[in-house]
């Protein structure tokens, strides 16, 4: 049961990664984050219906597309609201959220859809005799989530652009003075954010149904993972996702109706006891 929760946490962490990156680098809270995930899942489903190919192949089409969408959004909308009054960001991203939801509603109606992965979704691995059995799909999803985080932290920790990421996060004015093109950095950050959330949206769609209005609910999970783990810490985000996943699984075990409730309660407790998050820096900036 706990393992199951941990594996679900991988998905939440994948949702939250993009939020963590865009907040970490740009101090931008993107309220349309969840809607971008749902939108990507719909695009993947269109691709699968049109071609008859597996959703796993759709990933390779949707991800580059979502990177472009990310850059486009950054250039068209977010560059105008970064570094100004946060209320502008909220209005802009909230507006984007509503716009995406309505476009999806128009295009795909309110009917839920799912991405069919065939019997891969039902296969399982026996770990310890017949007692501990885990699904192959949740395991794959978790491994992918960890892989994404490993790649991302290598990128941010080791590369020249990654260094510029962190410098921009610390002090954008001085980074600019050092010759860092912060608009480019922001565009890359947002491309990463949209790509990771698109991946999460597709993985979510392979497991459950999704519909045009699901975005905000997904956004909540992403937020909770980021806050529990601590702002600005990628591994904290994974940990936050896992804590949320485990809490929800335990909640669902007690009573199926308690799944979300227990998750939210754990989130509130963390917020009360350690507002900076488990891996957050001690100082709140």
């Amino acid at each position: 049961m706990i393992i199951q929760g941990v594996l679900v946490g991988g998905l939440y962490a994948m949702y939250a990664t993009g939020l963590s990156v865009s907040f970490g680098v740009m101090r931008l809270v993107n309220l349309a984050h969840g809607d971008l995930a749902v939108g990507s899942a719909f695009i993947a489903s269109t691709f699968c219906l049109a071609t008859g190919l597996s959703p796993f192949l759709a990933i390779f089409v949707v991800l580059p597309l979502s990177a472009l969408v990310g850059i486009g959004l950054q250039v068209a909308i977010f560059n105008r609201v970064v570094g100004v009054d946060p209320s502008f960001q909220i209005v802009a991203t909230f507006g984007l959220s509503i716009a995406i939801q309505n476009v999806l509603l128009q295009q795909y109606t309110a009917n839920p859809r799912a991405l069919n992965v065939g019997d891969f979704g039902n296969r399982s691995l026996k770990l310890v005799g017949d007692d501990v059995v885990i699904g192959l799909f949740p395991l794959t999803r978790f491994v992918v989530a960890v892989l994404v985080l490993v790649l991302l932290s290598l990128f941010i920790g080791r590369t020249r652009i990654g260094r510029a990421f962190r410098a921009t996060s610390d002090d954008p004015d001085i980074a600019r003075l050092m010759g860092v093109n912060i608009r480019f950095i922001y565009a890359v950050a947002f491309a990463i954010a949209v790509t990771t959330v698109a991946l999460a949206g597709i993985f979510n769609g392979m497991q459950t149904q999704f519909s045009a209005a699901d975005g905000p609910a997904l956004l909540i999970y992403a937020f909770e993972s980021v806050i529990i783990g601590g702002l600005g810490s990628l591994w904290g985000t994974l940990c936050g996702g896992i804590i949320l996943g485990v809490a929800q699984t335990i909640g669902a075990e007690i009573d199926p109706g308690w799944k979300q409730l227990i998750g939210h309660l754990v989130f509130l407790i963390v917020l009360l006891v350690r507002p900076m998050g488990i891996f957050g820096k001690d100082e709140l900036r």
Binding site: R160, R163, A164, A167, D171, A175, L177, M178, G179, V180
Partner: protein
């Protein structure tokens, strides 16, 4: 030869004008001091040379070309580096990474990591330490080192002594001649006049956004400096 010429410069922040008709000259390889009280416009002068403040009127000529319309990073590419007031190092990056960002422009020259560590030995043993864990003096050394990594021809130093113990300030100022020896010109802005004047061959004093006095430090009397600095007892 003149490296930098600031001509009749007026600059400010939005509605607020901080500099009025300021002119200044820096020869190649020179060390210039800009002194003045808090709020006299010293930092604004450096920032407008570096390109982070709006110029209202006037010209800034660097190496024979006008740079008034260039972005900060374009000015950096031509060899103007600013050590900002309050150090402003990248707090979550290590010492080494701060220097790497300083070299982000990939301007070629004599300065590299090894030389910075040689000139600032206090940094050499802290390469992997996070910058926010450094002492004030070490942070200031890092801020200067970071600027040097871009191989500047003109280094703008904004209040190097701010908040540091006199012995540390003395140490940092002892290093400046080594920087000049690489052919880099310096402008230092200070409130602490003695330190700045003793390290420079020409000085400007700003008062309420205007040049109130200029000359070779040796030619300026204490009384002249005091009246130009505080704007009292001026007898022209």
């Amino acid at each position: 030869m003149t490296l930098l010429e600031v001509r009749n410069l007026s600059a400010g922040y939005g509605q607020f004008q901080a500099l009025f008709d300021v002119s200044l000259n820096v020869n190649e390889g020179a060390a210039i001091a800009v002194i003045g009280a808090n709020g006299a416009g010293k930092s604004t002068l450096l920032k407008s040379i570096a390109g982070v403040v709006d110029v209202i009127f006037g010209e800034i000529i660097f190496d024979g070309e006008s740079i008034v319309n260039l972005q900060p990073h374009e000015r950096l590419n031509r060899g103007i580096a600013l050590v900002p007031e309050g150090r402003r190092i990248f707090r979550s990056l290590t010492v080494d990474e701060n220097l790497s960002i300083g070299a982000y422009s990939r301007r070629q020259g004599v300065w590299n990591r090894e030389l910075v560590y040689e000139v600032f030995p206090m940094l050499a043993k802290l390469t992997d330490r996070r910058a926010d864990k450094l002492s004030g003096g070490e942070q200031q050394a890092l801020a200067i080192g970071r600027a040097l990594m871009s191989n500047p021809r003109l280094l703008l130093l904004d209040e190097v002594s701010l908040g540091l113990a006199p012995i540390i300030v003395k140490k940092l100022y002892e290093i400046l001649p080594r920087i000049r020896a690489t052919g880099c010109s310096l402008i230092y802005v200070e409130q602490d006049t003695n330190q700045a004047l003793s390290a420079s061959e020409y000085a400007y004093c700003l008062l309420e956004g205007q040049v109130s006095l200029e000359g070779k430090p040796a030619d300026l009397s204490r009384e002249q400096i005091a009246s130009a600095y505080f704007g009292i007892g001026v007898n022209k």
